[in-house]
């Protein structure tokens, strides 16, 4: 149903001059939908699971470690996963956390050397800083995920959010728009990070909750039985994931239709 565009064929970097950025070895499932204008650069392998959608102009940089994207993820427009080479070299020394600049400049000699050394070493995934994105993860537009972070299944990362190096996002967590998860930060599962910057955290209701104290008091006062506890909070999350599945299906149909025409 979904169409795979082998990124090597239509990739801009392939047609560019020989000293252009190295194209990453991409191993994508045939059922993944990958836009033509998505950018894959780096030396480490990038793995994309079945059913995953990568939107136009998303950038995946595997200079510092392999990128693994699981099933059914959505990577939105202009999202940056990994670090671009020049910022990477800068960050390696100063560990300053700035995301990749829009377009990697023509590689400088230093970049060339670093990449060559890396390719010579042929690092194992443990050696580099792998980015692991699990199942059903949504990554919003313009958000950036830096090397070494691990995003568990069904997490949602909103637009313009930043996940710094070594951070771990638990399953069913949500990072709201513009929020920042600091270096080596841990976001527990079923937690919402909201507000601005590092923001505030909120634990989502997962199981069924008994009615709150206000309701209990009111029921007592009115001499009526306390209403039975509401359904589990998981229902809402299931519904959200269902919507995501439908979004992916609709996108697949749309692209298929466009191809036929």
């Amino acid at each position: 149903m979904a169409t795979l565009k082998p990124p090597s064929a239509t990739h801009r970097s392939s047609s560019s001059a020989p000293p252009g950025p190295p194209r990453a070895p991409v191993k994508a499932d045939p059922s993944a939908t990958i836009a033509d204008t998505a950018v894959f650069q780096g030396t480490h392998p990038i793995t994309i699971g079945p059913g995953t959608v990568i939107h136009p102009r998303a950038r995946l940089y595997s200079y510092e470690g392999p990128i693994t994207i699981g099933d059914g993820c959505i990577i939105s427009e202009k999202a940056v996963i990994g670090a671009a080479p020049e910022s990477a070299s800068k960050e390696r020394s100063a560990s300053s956390s700035r995301t990749a600049s829009p377009s990697p400049s023509p590689s400088t000699p230093t970049d060339g050397t670093t990449t060559t050394t890396q390719t010579i070493h042929t690092p194992t995934p443990e050696e580099g800083l792998p980015i692991r994105i699990s199942y059903f993860v949504t990554i919003g537009p313009l958000s950036s995920i830096l090397p070494g972070s691990h995003i568990h299944s069904a997490a949602a990362i909103d637009s313009l959010a930043t996940i710094h190096r070594g951070a771990e996002i638990g399953s069913h967590a949500k990072i709201c728009a513009g929020c920042v998860v600091p270096q080596n930060g841990r976001v527990a599962e079923w937690t919402v990070v909201w507000g601005s910057g590092v923001g505030q955290r909120r634990t989502r209701g997962r199981g069924a909750r008994p009615p709150g104290s206000a309701v209990r008091v009111a029921a007592y006062v009115a001499q009526v039985p306390v209403p039975e506890s509401a359904p589990e909070g998981k229902l809402v999350e299931d519904a959200r994931l269902m919507v995501l599945v439908r979004e992916r299906e609709a996108l697949g149909r749309m692209i298929a239709g466009a191809k036929k025409r």
Binding site: V192, R204, P211, G212, S213, A214, A218, V221, Q223, A230
Partner: protein
């Protein structure tokens, strides 16, 4: 100030008008030979001539005249309250005066919910509070608007309309987090109210017990606090029994309602003279102590009659008002165990930091709420549309359309359609170097070199349909310690009417257009001349102001080591160069109908000369510290 340079402010004249004194008003109206005057300064001068004997009065008049003579000082603390950007001012057509937000009154036209844009009648606002009564709620965790959604539908099996919840799209909060679901998707507020309302009258009906019944009218039996407290001790076992079954304490709303009804009955019982019409008013705040105190003065005061103690012997001791004593009356005694409970819950693993409601969240909720599990969704606060009236003449200045959907105004008398809009910009080159090329950039307004003359262009744009004669006056030296010299090169000029653009074009008034065009063409070589306007257009005129910024205190180059000559260093914002300009405008307007009938001195062509005068402040820039 807060605006970027250059800015212009207009001073509302309400700051100068003296507060009307009732005594003076009476005097002026009583004096027979005085003709009716409306303008305040004229009245003042009349009075100074007349009432020489009244010293106080005279002094005030003298002060008033002083103020009249004084130049407006933009730095004086008082002027802070009268300076407004021109766009914020209104104009009253009856008073013929500028009106600032201080000299208008506001009244609410309609209440509406900003979320659903539904108007709420003010009677409902009074009864239900100023929150949306429909389905609009804000998230208690993050204040984003909540959406009503069906759970079953969301899960995919769209066959059955399931229970509904409120859910936040931002932080994913749902009412399931507090264990609440709704059976209908409409009238969520009343459903929620029903669920959480602990003020139901059932709370009183439920226990028509002896305890409550007795306490409801204790005044029949007790007449002093001591007896009551004794009685309370007797009742204690009963109360403890009562406490046992009321396991969850009353909510804040319920306690408030209980207290309210309790004190209402107390007031009714204690106001002892039901026949007295004023008893409800005065009896309201009359615990027995105050009553007795008042009766001390009763013989001499008018109030004596009110409390029935005017006659020497009060028949009986006035009943004493008591405080709430039981939980059913709304009393809550702080329970030490409850605190422990809260602390334990705080320390427990499943609560933690994230489980505690933040200060922001708690301010919106009932004061008992400590944990995020207790947060309730908040109905959206209503907003208002307001009409504005002139304070003295009650003339409506602004009246918005009642409908919340419409952003239009029925009446809106903004000052800019009556007074010319002043705009300021620096002239591109300083006149001290008159031979420079026209490419010299405009001076940096945030660092004006002192003692170096600059030229600024003051543009006045007329929005009236009548041509206006303008007279500008400015003090030659700005007030304050930093004395900058200011000269208006052309203090008297005329601004054209705001006529139709096409009219002018069709009438072939090429002259002004050509004039302005040529002016822009040779703008580079143009040299400001005294007595000539800089530029002129259809309904605008530009004049040149020559400004020589003064030196800041402590940096006077003439006195070496300026800081030593007793001058304190510059205060914050003292380096801002602000020029007070007095604007006097005069125009001939068509007479309004009522005036036409009354006024005998109206000209035959139905034109009357109007004038308006006000101060404005031009913020030119900041003066550099050194040369």
């Amino acid at each position: 100030m807060s605006r970027p340079f250059p800015y212009t402010y207009i001073s509302c004249p309400c700051a100068d008008t003296p507060v009307p004194e009732p005594g003076r008003k009476r005097k002026s109206t009583l004096s027979p030979q005085k003709p009716e005057r409306t303008s305040v300064p004229a009245e003042d001068s009349q009075e100074t001539q007349k009432e020489k004997d009244d010293d106080d009065e005279q002094e005030q008049e003298a002060q008033g005249e002083d103020e009249e003579e004084q130049t407006f000082d933009p730095r004086s603390p008082r002027s802070n309250f009268s300076l407004y950007p021109p766009e914020q001012l209104l104009y009253c057509e009856d008073c013929h005066q500028i009106k600032c937000p201080r000299c208008i009154t506001e009244e609410i036209v309609s209440w509406y919910c900003p979320n659903c844009l539904f108007e709420t009648p003010s009677s409902m606002v009074k009864s239900d509070g100023n929150r949306c009564g429909r389905n609009c709620f804000n998230c208690p965790a993050c204040t984003a608007p909540l959406a009503v959604s069906a759970i079953e539908n969301m899960a995919g099996n769209a066959t059955q309309q399931g229970p509904w919840v409120l859910s936040c799209g931002y932080c994913l909060w749902t009412t399931l987090d507090i264990g609440i679901k709704f059976d209908k998707p409409t009238n969520i507020r009343s459903q929620l109210q029903k669920m959480t309302d602990s003020t139901a009258p059932a709370s009183f009906d439920r226990k028509p017990s002896r305890t409550f019944g007795d306490l409801k009218s204790p005044l029949a039996t007790f007449s002093s606090i001591d007896e009551q407290s004794n009685a309370r001790h007797e009742e204690d076992p009963d109360q403890s029994a009562h406490k046992e079954d009321s396991a969850p304490p009353l909510g804040a709303e319920a306690r408030f309602a209980a207290l309210k009804s309790f004190y209402r009955t107390q007031i009714n019982e204690t106001s002892n003279s039901p026949s007295d019409p004023l008893s409800s008013e005065f009896g309201f705040s009359s615990p027995g102590a105050l009553n007795r105190l008042m009766s001390l003065y009763a013989s001499s005061s008018r109030l004596g009659g009110l409390y029935g103690s005017g006659n020497k012997k009060p028949k009986s001791k006035p009943p004493v008002m008591r405080e709430a004593l039981t939980a059913s009356e709304g009393l809550r005694i702080a329970d030490s165990l409850a605190e422990v409970e809260v602390i334990e819950r705080l320390a427990s693993a499943d609560c933690g930091w994230n489980g505690v409601a933040s200060a922001d969240q708690r301010t919106e909720q009932s004061p008992d709420v400590r944990f995020v599990d207790d947060l309730l969704p908040l109905p959206v606060l209503l907003r208002t549309k307001r009409a504005k009236r002139c304070k003295p003449c009650k003339h409506i200045l602004v009246k918005p359309e009642t409908k919340p959907q419409s952003t239009r105004f029925r009446i809106r008398l903004i000052a800019l359609s009556y007074i010319p809009l002043p705009t300021l910009r620096p002239l591109a080159f300083p006149s001290s170097s008159s031979v420079v090329s026209p490419t010299v950039p405009a001076p940096d307004l945030t660092a004006l070199p002192p003692l170096r003359p600059i030229h600024v262009l003051l543009n006045l744009k007329n929005h009236m349909f009548d041509p206006v004669r303008i007279t500008l006056a400015t003090p030659s030296v700005t007030p304050g310690r930093v004395s900058s010299k200011v000269t208006v090169l052309c203090p008297q000029f005329e601004i054209g009417a705001n006529s139709d653009v096409w009219d002018e074009a069709l009438q072939g008034a090429e002259a002004p257009i050509a004039d302005s065009r040529s002016a822009t063409l040779r703008g580079g070589e143009k040299v400001p001349e005294a007595g000539k306007v800089w530029d002129k257009g259809r309904n605008w005129t530009t004049v040149v102001l020559e400004v020589v910024p003064g030196t800041l205190p402590g940096t006077d180059p003439l006195s070496q080591g300026g800081a030593d000559d007793g001058q304190s260093p510059a205060l914050p914002d003292e380096d801002v160069l602000e020029i007070p300009v007095f604007v006097h405008m005069e125009w001939e307007a068509e007479v309004q109908l009522e005036q036409q009938n009354v006024g005998k001195s109206s000209k035959p062509d139905d034109l009357v000369t109007r004038e308006l005068a006000y101060w404005m402040v031009l913020g030119v820039g900041r003066i550099q510290a050194g040369l």
